[in-house]
Symmetry: C2
Subunit: 408 residues, 2 copies
């Protein structure tokens, strides 16, 4: 196993003309991460949002420098605390990618986005207040709303036949006097929607009209396919920004979730101050130097790597789409506009168990279970297609075989 | 500079018979940490609690393994989440060192102890409630009490002529109906006291009598000099444990503060549940894998390194004591029973500025300023003596020269 890793890494190291990131299955199986150790060796994991890729060279170099220098003390970077260093990198990235001007003073460090969601819901609402969440959605967001004893107001993503859309009519019916927060996930997980300017403006106006805070999880914003454009909600104007807290992190797009580094950006100083009255800055902890240096390297230096990854992900997405359409058309699927996640509706298969359990038992694939995204979605699974083409083809083959045997 | 680091690191790597950790000044100056970059190059830093030492080989090996495998995904260790892995290491360490049995289910991850203090004060008190803090004390603890709008009840460490002791008589006068919390720092920073069983039992009885929660910061517990024994407060019995939350971390004794990994251990399930009603588990974030693996390596494998470091620190402490007694007896100093921190009373020098400012200007040493530990202590400085003997001797020489010139 160790030799496999070395071999595949030396391939990475020596490829100078192209950016290489795919890893052999043997190297993946040697990893100690959750993805490749949750199930027994016969199961191909396709669940947790790790990519089966090696990180970009500048990230590796930044981490190797810390390790080579054995410099694990209280960190400074450019004469500032490490959390300021990463805040400035976020500001640069938002400006260069979206023309969105964020003040670094409004950017605070977090370990992860779930922590940010807890902090924001606790700061901006009281128990039994309403929190709107589009469903299906990332399971920890559901859990956050329930654990904090807020009322989860589920706004279903409406399937318009070709994609999932923002259901403004339904939203109007949901809101009441005790509704305080809208949790936006854009690009949306698991449907992969990149909300349009019109959808976001409608949400913004709605939030203003009903005095809602919007928690805007934009962690998938780097993973948008050609033809779509991510728009940070807070960039739509000062009135919307004044009630928006943006959550972001390089961990998803640059494949470093174990390093724990995320940020929240408040739209205004007033909003930040209101937050800090309930949640003091240091209650959410401090940034670790490995996460900080890796994140700054990711945002400042790793776009070529991400471009190469996105080319691969586009091919992988289209492979899923084409193969399923040809070989298992009963599985309904709108190709995502962003993310490496495919939300597969298996309800026409007529399964007697959840779709997750069916594919685990009969195809030996570990998908994410649809019911964790929405209790009504037990006939859905989420497929993580951020893997090499041979592994993806094996996943698709196994799905098709299991589906055919079921129908026989 | 780079070459210096490599040279001193290869010295470390090749020393097999003895444990070597001292670093040359040139290697230290090449570091990017706060300690060696806060001041200009002419100033010797002796403030922030970083040791000028290379980390232990097993810590370095654990980090290098992650980096070599490029395994930065959502981590598992022994089939469990990373925070459980480090919780189990803490449980093993407490049992082997102190015979203290902690349930791993009562151990929660943190980024750092300041975060833990915020979380605990917010969970177990209301604004304007009283929080007792022994003074002088770690500046962030003062800040925590003030930021959360609690009332800081200062309990001075009483100087009995040979050391600082727990002032129970004063404590009786301080407490009132709105007192909720006692923040214990044991071993105490900056005085270096290791509280005796009798002192701790008296505190425990007092806490029971007045229904106080005790936040017991034990981060310096690994740094106890011969002749003293650290006793975890919660190990004194179930009644005391039922109101004690212990904070600890390997970052201080094993010199990895930039990696951000700490723990809090609740004395009982009831106490933990009471805490989580106010502060949900995930609000405090999640553990990063580098901090986790480094901490587990520290606690499980690095005691020989720490023993060697403690031998050095004992010599360094005695050097400070002997040199000051001989050459600058106006500086009053009780040698600490633990920590690598010397709390120096310079009030007999008759300075016209703070002692911190005097030594920064006239000796080019960057101490920690006494007034940040207690507004009344501007004539104190805290000296961090965890450095090589040549650097320590240079610090002492500069102090003595400046002191003599001042008196001339």
């Amino acid at each position: 196993m160790q030799e496999d890793i070395k071999a595949s890494q030396s391939n990475i190291m020596t490829s100078t003309d192209t950016i290489s990131f795919e890893l052999e299955q043997s190297a993946l199986q040697a990893r100690r991460n959750a993805k490749w150790n949750q199930y027994d060796a016969g199961v191909i994991p396709a669940f947790v949002a790790d990519m089966d890729f090696a990180v970009a060279a500048p990230i590796q170099a930044a981490i190797e420098r810390i390790v080579r220098e054995r410099d694990y003390g209280y960190p400074l970077r450019n004469g500032e605390r490490a959390d300021r260093f990463v805040a400035h990198a976020f500001v640069r990235r938002m400006k260069s990618r979206y023309g969105w001007e964020v003040s670094p003073d409004l950017v605070m460090p977090l370990a992860d986005l779930v922590q940010g969601t807890y902090a924001l819901i606790l700061a901006f609402s009281e128990p039994r207040d309403g929190v709107i969440l589009q469903t299906p959605n990332y399971p920890p967001f559901r859990e956050t709303i329930q654990t904090t004893e807020r009322q989860l107001l589920a706004l279903p993503m409406r399937d318009d036949g070709s994609r999932h859309v923002f259901d403004m009519a339904e939203l109007q019916k949901l809101v009441d006097q005790r509704t305080r927060i809208f949790v936006l996930c854009n690009p949306q997980n698991p449907t992969g929607r990149v909300f349009s300017r019109d959808e976001l403006l409608a949400l913004g106006e709605f939030a203003i009209a009903h005095d809602l805070i919007v928690i805007s999880d934009e962690i998938h914003s780097d993973l948008v396919f050609p033809g779509q454009q991510h728009i940070p909600l807070a960039s739509l104007g000062p009135e919307i920004a004044a009630r928006t807290v943006t959550l972001n992190s390089a961990t998803k797009s640059f494949n470093i979730p174990g390093l724990r580094c995320a940020l929240m950006a408040f739209g205004t100083e007033a909003l930040r101050n209101r937050f800090h009255k309930r949640i003091p800055l240091k209650l959410t902890g401090s940034a670790n130097i490995v996460g900080v240096d890796a994140t700054v390297a990711a945002w400042d230096e790793c776009q070529p790597w991400l471009d190469a990854v996105m080319e691969h992900l586009l091919k992988a997405r289209n492979r899923v789409k084409d193969v399923l359409a040809a070989e298992a058309p009963e599985i309904r699927f709108h190709a995502p506009e962003a993310t490496y996640l495919a939300w597969l509706d298996c309800s026409k298969l007529g399964l007697s168990t959840s779709a997750f359990q069916f594919f685990l038992n009969h195809a030996r694939i570990g998908f994410s279970a649809g019911e964790t995204f929405d209790p009504d979605c037990a006939q859905f699974v989420r497929l993580n297609f951020a893997t090499s083409m041979p592994i993806l083809d094996e996943i698709l083959d196994r799905m098709i075989t299991a589906t055919r045997q079921h129908h026989r």
